[in-house]
Symmetry: C2
Subunit: 327 residues, 2 copies
């Protein structure tokens, strides 16, 4: 920067002003400085800037599993949008581990990120009130916590819609396949399903719930294999994630059961898995673009210094109908 200043015949302060476009300089010096910067391919040092201002042009994004299509497209949208606004994203995978999540967040803070997008059911509001933070995609595990900005789909309604669809298709014996673990959405979607059953006065017995250790195609497939051996065959299956639904497909296929003829099936997320598996999977559609852009907006507004009120934002979901629930 010193060098740029000398070449442009000015001071470092002015160079800094031009770079940060704060306006307090003449058109001529601006042009001169800009030219020298371009000619020398000068790139400002972010560490120095970060040290001086205690904020950097980076945003931390904490995600449970980048390998899950739902999250990868969410991350893709966030990363793209942030970069357009001059920010880079540090993506952190927690593999659904709370411990790892905490470590990652510490590391992000050490790196002076300017903001954070957390896909997590944990809440850290007390620890970093000054750091613009948005909780995305997952409500707080502790429902008593109201602080912070939270954006997610109306998961309860999603579970409801999917189950209603199965009932409309004439299903009487509905199996629900969810996962337990830290993602509270799984439970919320299940509750939505229960709401739909109650509304239609359909009884649900506990043995029609398959509760997986974690979300994975393999696990869903194996558990379903076991279920089919032991129990009565359902005529409809509601799953809480497309990934699980794909595992169910594999198991049913092996067992010679046809979708939708013998069994109807619904997914959740409506990621590309839903349209690419055959037969096409009816799935609850989440507006990923909207979620990402809201998260970006909130952070940008706080970065500009605007006061942004805490709140929970629930985005509406829709049902994308495909062959798997045809009737």
């Amino acid at each position: 920067m010193q060098e740029i200043a000398e070449l442009a015949g000015t001071s470092v302060a002015t160079v800094s002003r031009v770079i940060n476009r704060n306006g307090r300089y003449s058109k001529e010096t601006e042009a001169r400085v800009l030219k020298v910067i371009r000619d020398n391919r000068y790139v400002p040092n972010e560490s120095a800037k970060g040290l001086r201002t205690t904020r950097t042009q980076t945003i931390g994004v904490v995600v449970p599993d980048i390998t899950n299509p739902h999250f990868s497209s969410l991350v893709n949208k966030i990363e793209t949008g942030m970069f357009e606004r001059g920010y880079s994203c540090i993506i952190c995978n927690t593999n659904e581990s709370e411990q790892l999540e905490i470590k990652h967040i510490q590391s992000l803070r050490a790196q002076n990120v300017s903001g954070m997008v957390l896909i997590s059911c944990l809440r850290y509001h007390a620890e970093f009130r000054n750091l613009p933070t948005v909780y995305l995609d997952r409500p707080a595990k502790d429902t008593a916590i109201n602080e912070g900005i939270m954006i997610c789909s109306d998961n309860d309604q999603g579970g409801y819609l999917a189950t209603k669809e199965l009932l409309a298709a004439g299903c009487k014996k509905i199996l629900v396949v969810k996962a337990h673990g830290d993602d509270i959405n799984q439970t919320i979607r299940f509750q939505g399903a229960m709401r739909a059953l109650e509304e239609e006065k359909v009884r649900f017995s506990k043995d029609m719930l398959l509760d997986l250790d974690h979300v994975s195609i393999k696990q869903a497939e194996q558990e379903m294999d076991a279920f089919l051996k032991k129990k009565k065959i359902p005529d409809g299956i509601m799953t809480t994630t497309d990934t699980i639904a794909v595992g169910i497909y594999l198991s049913l296929r092996k067992a010679g059961l046809r979708v939708p003829k013998d069994i109807r099936l619904t997914g959740f997320d409506d990621c590309y898995l839903a349209e690419s598996c055959g037969p096409g999977l009816t799935s609850v559609h989440q507006d990923v673009s909207q979620m990402a852009s809201m998260a970006i907006d909130f952070i940008m507004r706080r970065l500009k210094g605007d006061a942004v009120e805490d709140g929970r934002y629930y985005l509406p979901v829709t049902l994308t109908r495909r062959e798997s629930t045809a009737y």
Copy 2:
């Protein structure tokens, strides 16, 4: 840090030494400093460290499309492995755009990343010789370029294996579906396919090549729809990516063509799409874990100061057989 020094009754220099474990201090002071650090939850400021040392605990990872399962699992492995070694990853999506890639790399350099993993056919060796860099998954577009460390699968052999499998299944009229664009792997895999055909003295005419604008399920499906309308129906299809193969599946299903009965199909990458679509897709398996860990190792070695020789490393591929080529 100042504060820590005072509380521990020592100087900032010593605190720094303890943090960086350089050994030049007594056991007692070490214990004292460490305790104060823990008690106060002190986290060193990465910006200051970065400014002083011109390297940070971050690695830049440039990836064409995080949404593609092959890349998302590659990134997942890299991110996890790096974090275990104390590094965070800044993930950059280029959406296959050279321009965006260059912007991203500039931004990474401004952020003083300690190393880079680039999934790209471009080469930047001249610009940053000092920055530990590994080119992953994609050979140089300009084959004359020999500089740098490059790790990728033996894509030619992959194309060869897939096509051989189709031939072994008795296919006579083989359609190849690839994408053009910046990813030279697409072409290399195609060449491997040609090698297999030549070896078996099977003629290949240009109208049996479908060359997509870019890799996408949708595009593959649409182009295949059009192809089926105009041309003779093939009895085998070799694709250069699982994603494309999924699009082909969709098109064939609509047309009432059965896999593998009427048409046999192969994919490439062997990502989870391959096992989850039905019927299971025979696909060329890439050793993603190995690729990621080699990349990490090379960067770590260079970070330690070891001289690492430039070179091209081609990892062997295998064929994972599933139903789609059964015979």
